[in-house]
C-alpha cells in the first residue's frame, strides 16, 4: 500500500463521520422545526412560500425515491427549486429515503394521510432566541459541500 493509498483511506472515516453528523443534525432540525411550527411540507406549498417569503427560508430538503426519478413533473420542480435556492442563498440538500423522512415528519399528523414530502422548507420562527445548533451544523455542512462544488449534497438520515 503506497503512501497515497494510505492517505486515501484516512479520508474515509472523516467523510463517514461528516455524513453521519449531517444526518443526525438534519433529524434534529426536522423535529425541532416541526415542534415550533416553522416547517412547510409539499412541493406546491413550498413553492408558494418561496414565492412570497423567500427571505425567511433558512433550509430546503428535496426528497425522492428511485421510483420518483421517473416522474418528469417532479424532476422539473426539483430543478427549478434547486436553482431558486442557489440564487437566493438558501441551503439545500437532498434525501434519498422518503420513507425515513415520513417516519420523522409524518408522525405528527394525527391519523392524517401522509402528505407530499418531496420538498420540505424550514423557516425562521418569530422568536429571536432561535439558535439551533443542528441548523448551524447543517449550514456549515452545506458551505463545505459548496466549497468542493457539491451544490446540493445528499444526506442519509439515521435509522
Amino acid at each position: 500500500m503506497t503512501l497515497e493509498e494510505v492517505r486515501g483511506q484516512d479520508t474515509v472515516p472523516e467523510s463517514t463521520a461528516r455524513m453521519q453528523g449531517a444526518g443526525k443534525a438534519l433529524h434534529e432540525l426536522l423535529l425541532s422545526a416541526q415542534r415550533q411550527g416553522c416547517l412547510t411540507a409539499g412541493v406546491y406549498e413550498s413553492a408558494k412560500v418561496l414565492n412570497v417569503d423567500p427571505d425567511n427560508v433558512t433550509f430546503c430538503v428535496l426528497a425522492a425515491d428511485e421510483e420518483d426519478e421517473g416522474d418528469i413533473a417532479l424532476q422539473i420542480h426539483f430543478t427549478l427549486i434547486q436553482a431558486f435556492c442557489c440564487e437566493n442563498d438558501i441551503d439545500i440538500v437532498r434525501v434519498g429515503d422518503v420513507q425515513r423522512l415520513a417516519a420523522i415528519v409524518g408522525a405528527d399528523d394525527e391519523g392524517g394521510a401522509p402528505g407530499d414530502l418531496h420538498c420540505i422548507l424550514i423557516s425562521n420562527p418569530n422568536e429571536d432566541t432561535w439558535k439551533d445548533p443542528a441548523l448551524e451544523k447543517l449550514s456549515l455542512f452545506c458551505e463545505e459541500s459548496r466549497s468542493f462544488n457539491d451544490w446540493v449534497p445528499s444526506i442519509t438520515l439515521p435509522e
Binding site: K48, I72, A73, Q75, T79, L80, F84, E87
Partner: protein, 165 residues
C-alpha cells in the same frame, strides 16, 4: 424639461422601440427555424434537460394572470433558474401582441392550422440555439446586449413592449 433631459428621454424611448423591434425579429426567425418552445410546462421541461442551449426566455402575463398563484410560482422559479444559469430573460408587457405574433405564423402554414384548435399557453416562451452555425443574428445580439445592460442596473428581468402593427 431641460434640453439634456429631453434628449435623454427621447434617446431612451427610441432605444426601447428598437429593442421591441429586435425581439419581434428574433421571435419571427425562431418560429420559422423551429427553435422556439411555448408554454410553461414545455419550457420547464426543456430547462430541465437542455438549459445550455437556451439563449432567451420570455415571460408574459396580463392583469388576470397576476392573480394566478400557480403561474406566479412558476414565474418565480423559472426566473431564478434563468438567473442561476445565465439565461437572458425578459418580460413582455403586452401579451396580446405576443399572441398575435406567434399565432400569425401558424396561419401561414395550412399544415399547422390544427394547432389553432387549442389555445396555446404563451406565458413562457424559450428561444434555443439552432443547430446551424450560421446563427449570427444581429437582433438577438441586440437583445442580449440589452439584457446585460439591464443586469448592470440591477434590473434582472427587464420589461419590453412589443411594437404594435
Amino acid at each position: 424639461m431641460t434640453l439634456e433631459e429631453f434628449s435623454a428621454a427621447e434617446q431612451k424611448i427610441e432605444r426601447m422601440d428598437t429593442v421591441g423591434d429586435a425581439l419581434e425579429e428574433v421571435l419571427s426567425k425562431a418560429r420559422s427555424q423551429r427553435t422556439i418552445t411555448v408554454g410553461v410546462y414545455e419550457a420547464a421541461k426543456l430547462l430541465n434537460v437542455d438549459p445550455d442551449n437556451v439563449v432567451l426566455c420570455l415571460l408574459a402575463a396580463d392583469e388576470d394572470d397576476d392573480r394566478d398563484v400557480a403561474l406566479q410560482i412558476h414565474f418565480t422559479l423559472i426566473r431564478a433558474f434563468c438567473c442561476e444559469n445565465d439565461i437572458n430573460i425578459l418580460r413582455v408587457s403586452n401579451p396580446g401582441r405576443l399572441a398575435e405574433l406567434l399565432l400569425l405564423e401558424n396561419d401561414k402554414s395550412p399544415a399547422e392550422s390544427g394547432g389553432l384548435a387549442q389555445t396555446p399557453d404563451l406565458h413562457c416562451v424559450l428561444v434555443t440555439n439552432p443547430h446551424s452555425s450560421q446563427w449570427k443574428d444581429p437582433a438577438l445580439s441586440q437583445l442580449i446586449c440589452f439584457c446585460r445592460e439591464s443586469r448592470y442596473m440591477d434590473q434582472w428581468v427587464p420589461v419590453i413592449n412589443l411594437p404594435e402593427r
